[in-house]
Symmetry: C2
Subunit: 445 residues, 2 copies
């Protein structure tokens, strides 16, 4: 980065402001985002106010909605806020308004033009995370009765207002979706051909469908936009490829966070206060600690065995660490396959069978490699106990890691929630039972 | 799913074939993919051969490249293979050819038309994972000297061959990229306006740039396509939004796998043999086990303390499990921030400072909640040891979880590789040292 980044990092906003023309929008966005993360964040607002109006709108558009929310909260002048709001597309505006307290939302919505307000309000009527929230109602449609030439003429006229014109929905009576035609197809076809002859069977979604599912449909079919229709197939809007990319990024951030045992931050890391970071993690950590107290109970009930052979304690972290890792591997793979390959409960038998075989091979591999060193280090008996235990707990871990996410999905729980950390904690306790039972039996304790 | 899915799951391909017309392409793709995963996989080839030619091409296109590779390996008839290959876009073909053994690749390339072969070969000349491998050289360009009307005419003529016509690169002498103009802009502008007046400053990438970086550029700027230019700014091709979505999916699959301590499978889970699954995990697991033997050494050196107070052993899994979870949380958050917010080594101090504060608050929270129960269960002395230890190891875990990925990135190692499982194993051993040192000092062992 240039020394301007350093100026900003040092909080020298005057220095930054003097050299604003050296920066492009992305750089200004980064600086504003970083400033919003600092205590107070008032400097962000004052820097932002000093931008020329067009630049301010561009920067505002490029900020992530939670940061837009922060910034709006810090701007005092209502007219200024409304200029920013009106510059946003209805779907982006809906996203921002979700971030604001209800009171502020109401005040701001009341300042929009009636048409704009009703569009935004309509978008806000659908459940959180649904396509309805993200779609754009501004679509260039053509009636099924026109020719390609007439269709092109309509698209050209609406070209400035519509969210996209590259996918053109073809509608029948009552705005019912009868097909779609790409702008490319319209351009390469003779002008006198009826649109009906070149339009294709549409892939579409309902507004209450999840944005992630819709986004996957866009990706898998290589679409530019996906029409959103109601139950009577009336066209409500389109969900465009850039909405899809953002939806997938949100979903991915969420899965990645949950996979690591935290709630997503929903904003850039350095812009989130420490308390917000703590809040995103403490619930998970407490829950996992409560689960982990099981291991205390298990060890307590084997205290006799432990007292007789203290050497058994030496391998507890190694064994449960390995079980945890094997379980995390299986859970990560299966959670990913649930999302991308659509694994379901009916695949449970096949998946668990594969994972048990995998766990057996992994455990056997570790046992073969570790047997010699263990024999040398603690003697033959304990080495045998360790070898048998490692095979058993690897199978336990991979089997559990595979089964739990599939069962969770069937029960309507996000599989990512029950992934690695949850599995690790569960196999810690069960793995200890296997270890000490094997030891008690083989060593005659 | 319908009973057809069950027929396929039972391997009753004859039953499936009789009812092929009930299936759409996606369903046939799923069945072929599942069959390829079964031992032998010969049934997939025979089912595939029985498809009508157009359907076969559509199914082939929709398969993921590793599965295309498997299928090609099982088709004996070379003409048949070449028909499939020629049906693919050059960038998809390059992706498939990467999956095949070099000998097969050479034989197949030799059967393409000279123009097609040189395009594919050119794409294959760039490093793996680069934009050069994924871009499409088939672009509709316009010279900077034409009018909007002439530009539209050119785009219309090339509309069938080009990968996309929605973003039109404007080129000067020697195919140098001077700007870009969207098809939408061309359509809504008067036909006599010079293209030069409506074209915008292009965002572009070099062919050796990583596909993931390019894909993020596409997403962040909401682009339909990104021009790829050489060092003299000569246009080589375009990287389209659907290539970008696929690149991001690949990158995310990889990060998610590494975050769980496995190598990515690079194919649908049920289509990967058990041995392939084992191979994707065994290296990681072995490495982590070797790291975890440190815990044996640490415990061994504290064997005296353990023998004196066996109760200390009871809390080992709980403490290191908690440290592991706190470390995984920090690592997951920071790895994600490295990818999405572009955190760098220069942010190290700020990031580690924040994480130490977070670790302190998390540890203190757990200590407050757990102190009472621990006192009741094992007495005041050990409860104090546990409380102090939990604060210290949470800070150790979050600090390490934050620092290691940043340092790894600066050293050119994929941060995802050193995430959760690596951190967990590291803090297991160090956490034990903290625990037993605190205990030895406070309990006077």
């Amino acid at each position: 980065m240039t020394s301007l980044g350093d100026l900003a990092a040092r909080g020298d906003l005057r220095g930054v402001r003097e050299r604003l023309d050296e920066l492009d929008v992305t750089e200004i966005v980064e600086i504003v985002a970083a400033e919003l993360g600092r205590r107070g964040g008032g400097a962000a607002a004052s820097l932002f106010r000093s931008l020329p109006k067009d630049l301010a709108i561009a920067v505002f558009e490029a900020l992530e909605p939670p940061l837009q929310g922060d910034l709006v909260g810090r701007l005092r002048d209502e007219t200024e806020i409304k200029v920013l709001l009106e510059g946003l597309d209805p779907d982006d505006r809906a996203e921002l308004l979700e971030e604001l307290p209800a009171k502020v939302t109401k005040r701001l919505l009341s300042g929009l033009s009636p048409g704009e307000r009703s569009m935004t309000a309509a978008l806000l009527g659908f459940p959180a995370g649904s396509v309805g929230r993200r779609m754009s109602p501004e679509v260039a449609t053509v009636p099924e009765t026109v020719t390609v030439g007439e269709a092109l003429e309509r698209v050209r006229r609406e070209g400035d207002r519509a969210e996209t014109i590259y996918l053109v929905p073809v509608v029948g009576e009552g705005r019912r979706l009868v097909g779609v035609v790409s702008l490319r197809r319209l351009l390469v076809t003779g002008r006198d051909v009826p649109v009906r002859d070149v339009c294709a069977e549409p892939v579409s979604v309902l507004p209450e469908d999840g944005e992630e599912t819709a986004a996957r449909t866009v990706r898998e079919n290589g679409l530019i936009a996906l029409p959103v229709v109601d139950h009577e197939r009336r066209l409500l809007g389109v969900f465009t490829v850039d909405d899809a990319m953002r939806a997938l990024e949100r979903a991915e951030s969420e899965d990645s966070a949950r996979g690591g045992g935290t709630e997503p931050l929903r904003r850039p890391y350095l812009s989130a206060g420490v308390l917000r970071v703590v809040r995103s993690r403490i619930g998970w950590l407490l829950g996992l600690v409560v689960g982990a107290t099981l291991t205390v109970t298990v060890l307590d009930s084997f205290e006799d065995a432990l007292e007789q052979v203290v050497a058994l304690a030496l391998f507890v972290p190694l064994l449960i660490g390995t079980a945890g890792n094997a379980g995390a591997q299986a859970a990560t793979t299966v959670v990913r396959a649930i999302t991308t390959d659509d694994l379901r409960l009916r695949d449970l038998g096949r998946v668990v069978g594969r994972e048990l075989a995998t766990g057996f091979l992994l455990g056997a591999g570790l046992a073969v490699v570790g047997f010699g060193p263990a024999w040398w280090f603690v003697g033959l008996d304990i080495a045998v106990v360790l070898a048998l235990t490692v095979v058993a707990i690897c199978m336990l871990a991979t089997g559990t890691g595979a089964a739990v996410p599939l069962v969770a999905r069937a029960a309507g729980v996000d599989p990512a929630v029950v992934s690695a950390p949850f599995i690790t904690t569960f196999v810690d306790a069960t793995g200890l039972i296997i270890y000490f039972t094997t030891a008690t039996l083989l060593l005659g304790l």
